[in-house]
Amino acid sequence: MEITNYVVLAAVLFAIGATTVLLRRNAIVVFMGVELMLNATNLAFVTFARLHGDLTGQVLAFFVMVVAAAEVVVGLAIIVTIFRTRRSASVDDVNLLKG
């Protein structure tokens, strides 16, 4: 398999994640989109690690995962608080602030 395939796959995944962020209403799902983007990144890292034949990329992938986990913690906390206040997790409902 060509390396480009991997890269392209990563790119595609990333694009899907981004699209999710742009299109889906539910905050959780939106957040999933972000996670998907991060994982796409991981794929890219690992691929390039193989390409360059050093482990840095793989290590970086772990870093990204950790960060992602941290994001989940904070993110879900916020989303949940909002859900409890508003009985809704739709990102389109939170728009008191505009203009």
Binding site: A10, A40, T41, A44, F63, V91, V94, K98
Partner: protein, 586 residues
């Protein structure tokens, strides 16, 4: 038989970071072990001490670093004078920010919800309030954020930068959600900030991945050396580099708050607790801009060797963004009716002016950038500090207080901040000194001579001119005319117009004194307007009053004001320092 070789670590170089972040960790322990009543004091002292300590270490390190920049743990922390100066600025601004945060004002309440997790308006929340709970976790969070910013500004390793980015962002997301009043707005701000922030950092890290793919390393200087060394890991794949640099830049521009990645700024600045807004606006921008400058210039070194075209593309990107940012910030700011929002847009405009300077792509702009960040930061922290003190007070309509512009008698319930510009009418009479200070901040932001803002703006624009972009400087000038207009509007209201306290400001639900906000929560954004009208019944009216600071905030305001003027009249010493600092390649 392999022997363990301990890594060479220049601990002194890391000292500022260690102090601040360590203090954060200690703060967590404090939460665990210190009795509740002593907690707040301890945290405040700890935080201030940590920041002061960090600053002290910066001072200690200064001569050494200026003489010889160091790379600690192989470049994960690259301590150049530029980075060190950034750390110093962040520490100073954070210190002032914490002062504002710590102030409970005459009302005896700080700006934070007793328990941010409680649903607004629930009995649980009332309980928490009556129990007098205070959320002292904010101080460790502030310290982590600050530490993150300092690291953000002083690394060469893109992944470390990414981590630093998260370390500074995540606490801010949380802090945004903790406002004592107008919690719906607060939470909304947090949500927006978080989602967009996460999105941005995803873009950033993907860019990092691409760069890694191109160069096999994520250390910009290393890339530069390799490329200059003529060894290109991937021939013809420079598209990876371009895309990567572009995405990384986008991630940074998001933090800087540059158009079109600015959309979060006004909402978050408005929703977040005002002291946090001040802290965020000043420090984050400082860290982000410094990081941006480093990334841009370090890549520019390498990229030039690969293909000069790419560098020009990079410059075009910055120029385009700069123009868009200035225009949007200035133009939209001029139609705002809310002080916090107005300051938010002004911060966008300033991001634009900063970018104008950066776009010149000539090394000497670093100095002016640092100065700009300091000047802007001071006036911003100060301005938001003033905002925290201008409050609404609900009084029985019988009461005479608040009329004829006189100071308001201490009756009635002090509500949240009065952020409607119209409400600031006659402030000049109620609180001359506060108004004077605020006026100084506005003039500085407007770049009127004899204030720090002018020297800063002068530096930024001359950066562009020196870089050959004189027309960009002219655009900047025109934009700043527009910004002057809206600062002026605010000034006119405060100084010249008489207060008409009879007007009831259109306001959003205020969890503090709202039983009905449950329904508000239920029905989202529609109810609040109705609530706002329901809130103030015929028997009551809202007057605008100035809460007396318990000291810290006042100190912060005073320091900012004085510093702004001094930096405007005798900037030489500081300029000397930043000149020394203009070196970010070890």
């Amino acid at each position: 038989m392999t022997t363990f070789v301990p890594p060479e670590i220049d601990w002194l170089a890391l000292a500022p970071l260690i102090v601040v972040l360590g203090a954060g960790v200690v703060g967590i322990l404090v939460e665990a072990f210190v009795p509740a009543r002593a907690r707040r004091t301890t945290q405040i002292v700890l935080a201030l001490a940590a920041l002061a300590g960090g600053l002290a270490f910066v001072a200690v390190l200064w001569p050494q670093i200026v003489a010889q920049p160091v790379q600690v743990v192989g470049g994960s922390v690259t301590l150049t004078p530029f980075a060190l100066a950034a750390q110093g600025i962040v520490a100073v601004l954070a210190f002032l920010g914490v002062l504002v945060v710590a102030d409970r004002t005459s009302t005896g309440q700080d700006a934070f919800a007793p328990t941010a997790s409680a649903v607004p308006g629930t009995s649980y929340e009332d309980l928490a309030r009556r129990a007098g709970l205070v959320q002292t976790e904010i101080y460790p969070l502030l310290l982590f954020a600050t530490g993150g910013m300092m690291l953000f500004a002083s690394t060469d390793d893109l992944v470390v930068m990414f981590i630093a980015l998260e370390v500074l962002s995540l606490p801010l997301y949380v802090l945004c959600a903790t406002a004592r009043r107008r919690r719906l707005l607060s939470q909304e701000a947090a949500a927006k900030y978080f989602l967009l922030g996460a999105f941005a950092s995803a873009l950033f890290i993907f860019g990092v991945a691409l760069i890694y793919g191109f160069a096999g390393t994520v250390r910009l200087l290393q890339i530069a050396q390799q490329v200059q060394g003529g060894m290109l890991p991937l021939e013809g794949m420079s598209v990876l580099l371009v895309a990567g640099v572009l995405l990384v830049t986008v991630g940074l521009l998001f933090k800087v708050g540059a158009v079109p990645f600015h959309a979060w700024t006004p909402d978050v600045y408005t929703g977040a607790p005002t002291p946090i807004t001040g802290f965020m606006a000043a420090c984050t921008k400082a860290a982000a801009v410094v990081a941006l400058v480093q990334v841009l210039y370090r890549t520019s070194i390498g990229v030039q060797a690969v293909d000069p075209q790419i560098l020009r593309q990079l410059q075009v990107v910055i120029v385009v963004v700069a123009i868009a940012t200035m225009v949007v910030g200035a133009v939209v700011g001029s139609v705002q009716s809310d002080v916090k929002r107005l300051l938010a847009y002004s911060s966008i405009a300033h991001a634009g002016f900063l970018l104008v300077g950066i776009a010149g792509f000539n090394a000497q702009v670093q100095a002016s950038t640092l100065f700009y960040l300091l000047a802007y930061g001071l006036s911003t922290v100060g301005a938001f500090a003033v905002v925290t003190l201008v409050r609404e007070r609900r009084v029985a309509s019988g009461s005479r207080s608040g009329e004829d512009n006189g100071p308001v008698a201490d009756d009635g319930v002090v509500l949240g901040e009065a952020t409607e510009i119209a409400q600031w009418a006659g402030l000049g009479r109620k609180a001359p000194w506060l108004t004077a200070a605020f006026g100084i901040f506005l003039l500085s932001m407007a770049g009127i001579p004899l204030t720090a803002g002018f020297v800063a703006k002068f530096g930024a624009f001359s950066g562009a001119v020196t870089g050959g972009l004189w027309w960009l400087a002219v655009l900047g000038v025109l934009a700043s005319i527009v910004t002057v207009a809206f600062y002026l509007r605010l000034l006119v209201v405060m100084v010249f117009r008489r207060a008409d306290d009879e007007t009831v400001p259109e306001q959003v639900p205020d969890a503090e004194d709202l039983d009905a906000s449950e329904t508000a929560g239920a029905s989202g954004g529609t109810a609040p307007a109705a609530l706002a009208t329901a809130q103030v019944t015929a028997a009551q009216r809202v007057v605008v009053t100035v809460a007396r600071s318990r000291g810290p905030a006042a100190v912060a305001v005073a320091v900012c004001a004085v510093a702004t003027v001094i930096l405007g009249v005798f900037p030489s010493p500081v300029l000397d320092l930043v000149e020394q600092a203009s070196k970010f390649v070890p």
